[in-house]
Amino acid sequence: MIGLVASRLAQIGVTLAALSFVAFLLIGLMPGDPIALAIAGDPRLTAEDAARLRALQGLDTPILARYAAWAASVLSGEFGHSRLFARPVAELLWPALVSTLLLLGVAVVLSAGFGLLLGALAATRRRARGAVDGVAILAASAPTFWIGILLIILFAVTLGWLPAGGQSEEGGLDAVRFLVLPVATLAVAGLASWARHAASALTEALSAPWIVTARARGASQHRVLWGHALPNAAPPLVTLAALDAGALVGGALVTETVFARPGMGKLLYDAVMGSDLNLALIALLLIGGVTMAATLAADLAQRALDPRLRDAP
């Protein structure tokens, strides 16, 4: 097991290095360096100013040299400044990450919880399957921004019960009020995949011979479902949770935009669109690293849940 973890960690390191290189090239070669945009917007910038500002921002050196300098700086623990927000990158990432983790963490717990319940309902009551499928299809096909706007119109604009967006400055219960609508939007969006995966995994588990044995031994429906079927249906759901972990850190751009809520998705989008190479790269690496770590954790959890996987390479 230790060998497996060590080799996977090495793979993660190599993948992150490759990811940083490719992302640096892709973002660095995107049309429109910041000085070109500044020139387009400010008639007072002369040719001399353009050359001076390019040199100051290191944009006059070859892209590979810039990557080498950036990588050396990151490896020495210096994450540098964001050009777009004129602040140290770490200072920007931390609040965005906390905000996103809170928002998406609650949303994932809710969508997983309700999704499991709906999946169990579909797996155990044949008549309910149609209704659960209907809910899942509706949730999957409704665009996130549309759900968000509907909720804002109803609960913020018409009823005035909840804020239409932004973040609380006071914390406590007020912060919860600001979370309700974006969390509900994301939870509805995530509900479909959880419900369908849970229904399919539980249906398969409930038709297994050991379930028949459990029923024959007089186990209650409740015990059969949650005590016997769910642990066996868990591996694909653990994979789903691992995939959600990447999104958890990557943020929910649409929801963050509709609800004007700062977070990782919005930060990454702004960084890429604003040619803030350093901020974009560090954010990407963070998201990539967490996604890969979550995949590794899911892998290990699956091995723990399913003994047949333990000897797999």
Partner: protein, 549 residues
Amino acid sequence: MIRALLALLLLALPAAAQQRDTLTIGITQYPATFHPNIESMAAKSYILGFVRRPLTLYGQDWQLACSSCETLPTLENGLAVLETTPDGRPGIRVTWRIREGLRWGDGTPVTADDLRFAWEAGRAFETGFGPAEFYRRAYEFQSSHPREVTLRFDRVTFEYASAGDFQPLPAHLERAIWEADRRAYRSRTRYETDTTNPGLWNGPWRIAAVQPGAGVTLEPNPHWNGPPPAFRRIRVLTVENTPALEAQLLSGQIDMIAGELGLPLEQALALQRRAGSRFAPHFQPGLIYEHIDLNLDNPILADRRVRQALILSADRAQIVARLFDSRQPVAHSNVNPLDGVHDPDVRQWPFDPARARALLEEAGWRPGPDGIRRNVAGERLVLDFMTTAGNRSREQVQQVLAAGWRQVGIEMRVRNEPPRVFFSETVTRRRYGGLAMFAWISSPESVPRSTLHSDEIPTEARNWSGQNYTGFRNARMDEILERLPETLQRADRIPLWRELQAIYAEELPAIPLWFRADAHVWPPWLEGVRPTGHLNPSSLWAEEWRVRR
């Protein structure tokens, strides 16, 4: 019983008034920096309007005025003196005196040292201040009084009294940081690392809290000696998505939307129709000049008759009436009708498709079998028409214009691009083949040298600087653009401005469309907000904002 109820009501009234000591403003952009001299962007100008006062500014009447100086320098009052530079060129020395009692938020007086520091930092080009032209020209700094500074310039222009971006920087806080490492000053300045330090701000408010990317909170500057501000707290929130901004307004989370960075006009008009009684919308025509640049290196567009046919077959008045509720004045040249140098007699092209067709015939473009005109070589009259993708208003206008031009036999190939690519690559490097629709913003009586002088055509050799994207070359225009800045008396400049507008309207290097209006949405209880329509935002006079009694 009735008395008791009235008493309760009277008690409640002050409580309601107390709630109005906070004003929450929504804008659509967050500033990249709070440093007054690094980068220019509208969001920064708007927020800094509350917390800083420049030496000079353009007032609501579009005239240059003092803000934190005492008297505007003129040749007549002796604060500006013509002289010769040490190397024998014509020069000018200009003196500004800082208003008495102006203090930074930590109580330190604003002095000539603060301006000396700004000048030294600007002159040290490695500091990385944006446009350095002002500092290049201001070759000597003199100060004989703690509140008085004199700059000597090696070039004389009619704008000599304007201090522009030359603003005091708190030397007592910033000089040591700058002297320690000039190249790193951009990222180490307290404006970025300690933004809530009261000593950075000298306006009626100071920045009390910053939520990066989300907004700032302002509180009164206790050392401000001007009219006391009416609000105990101002929150400026950034909501980039305009439907979300509107939702926050309707739900009461924000009180007003600043027109300088607010809703697109069509969205504001729709809001006015739906909920006009809840708000006091105000549409302020401004300096943003919406137009279509024509690439004059394209042989089709090099023919002036084709350019004139294009404007004759563009029904601009109808578009403004239908799409913008006639809130935006049609442009007939690049000079705004609100600008004192605008010529009301400039040629005004009507909507006249018949005349457009005649001009195209004259230029050798005859109708083809598919309705699109062809020249003698059989080439179709097809042009690329580009604008910023995703800008719904521009894309709508583009569709209407393209349909109109098709009626006279000109086909437009729509090739829109994301703004980032469009501005930084396609337009700046003149890679658009035909028409490019976008907007310019300028200041009152701004000489359009960068957009019209033949020396300002962007090329790789000049680092793609210059904004003459059309490739316009006109010897008389070049001459006017060179003479205008050096003509010190306004009365002498007026004929030059008239001629400039006449050449522009006749030659049509670009098709003037309209001057954009800013949509301000205020609560009915707020009074005193006076938008300008130019680059100096309404927040520069925010101490005049009051709750209506």
